[in-house]
């Protein structure tokens, strides 16, 4: 099932994608819903971020080649993380599929994509065993963890490197049925494929990460956990269009502009 969140009557509504249509519902997939019986064409709706998380979690280095590439770019010896330590992002940075990534005028050229799978929590999780994690998820969506690498190196936190407004495209929808082991993540810039990797080739997989988080923290319905990216990443520039596809979910596509360009 594919859940979208879309603009309706000036507010936000959830709907279920069925072919070229959206089945309308009352309620939402977290607190409960019922179908109204009405449909509208998918092409007629304006997509919103598929969920506004209560807390926006993000894993850091969680794929082997990206961990090596990140260390190399800093002139450091690559060292894989030994434990799963979750981080945080700011909700202000989220934008929906199709919305524009805006690079601030004082950013360097080193603004880069990071294609990521996003786990969307469906039911409260506290001290949940690894084997029970996936059944607590509503499903999965796609994130592009846009990063200004100079700020990432200079600042003591990731505040503007990864949380500048528009630096967190997420969508297009939440897919509830996904074969994680079969999924591939693909990043394209202006249609050219930049990287392709098995989505589930994480250092710490979703059941381990979220189970560990839940030992200390309650994960709430609607919380999202971005799971990290793989490989070396490249710069985005004014006029580019960046796509993150995860097979079995869909494509998250956003244009890029630079302020003042």
């Amino acid at each position: 099932m594919r859940w979208i969140r879309y603009e309706a009557d000036g507010g936000a509504a959830y709907g279920i994608v069925e072919g070229d249509d959206v089945a309308e519902v009352r309620g939402d997939p977290f607190a409960g819903y019922e179908r109204t019986g009405a449909k509208r064409p998918f092409a007629s709706v304006r997509l919103l971020v598929p969920v506004e998380p209560r807390t926006f979690y993000a894993a850091g280095l969680n794929y082997p080649e990206h961990a090596v590439a990140a260390a190399n770019s800093r002139g450091e010896i690559p060292k894989l993380p030994k434990t799963a330590n979750i981080g945080y992002r700011a909700v202000n940075a989220l934008i929906a599929d199709g919305e524009t990534i805006v690079i601030p005028s004082d950013a360097t050229e080193r603004v880069q994509y990071e294609g990521e799978i996003v786990a969307v929590v469906g039911r409260p999780m506290k001290r949940v065993a690894e084997a029970d994690v996936l059944s607590h998820l509503l499903g999965y969506t796609i994130g592009n963890d846009v990063s200004e690498r100079t700020w990432q190196g200079e600042d003591t936190t990731l505040w503007r490197a990864k949380n500048t407004d528009t630096f967190a495209p997420m969508g297009p929808w939440i897919e509830t049925d996904l074969d994680l082991d079969a999924a591939e993540t693909i990043v394209r810039v202006n249609g050219a494929e930049k990287i392709r990797f098995p989505t589930n080739s994480m250092i710490f997989k979703i059941p381990h990460y979220l189970s560990r988080m839940s030992q200390y923290m309650t994960l709430h319905p609607g919380d999202v956990v971005w799971m990290g990216t793989e490989g070396k990443t490249e710069n985005l520039k004014h006029g580019d269009t960046v796509e993150v596809e995860i097979t079995g979910i869909g494509v998250l596509k956003n244009p890029v502009v630079r302020e003042g360009a």
Copy 2:
């Protein structure tokens, strides 16, 4: 004016503290409100966290003596921060005035208080000049940034050190009228004063911090920014009661238990 958020009819309502009473309102202080004319005794309400932030921001080292004490405890040479780099916390950790701080059974003895003033955003802020920051706030509340120092040193992020459930007491209310320069922050454990410092003796003051954040990020109504603490901090143990007072705001008081103790 003092805004409380309290449990009403199974949900949450805002009210205005007036002497021993709470004036009921329809709406809230962010989107707009009107008084209903009804009152109820303050003593009869159960306080909730005064706001559930869209994003929960927290400054790191932002007072000179705390920065020195933190460096000393790690055997490092003290170095004051040169720029204001905001960090993030998780909403799951928030508890209200009077609720219990629960130390997990696998935490060490080094679980410590940090008394902080909290700026509560009232109006959207993007690229707001320092001189205009305070007029964009709804007001101020009090936070206790409970920290497990061993985890803080070992983990690559602050995820469980500062975001374990119940590790972020916030309240008791939002005070809209405060003379920041006159305010003192006082921490007491079991009634004994542990530290007292001028609340506004920050390295980077609220106008500077929030103006800088707003150059890159939109601060939304209801977002909170915890401004850091001063001095050396001490351990909390099972059976303690910890109070953070900020003169002109009030007292945030929470009991402490250790799981399994």
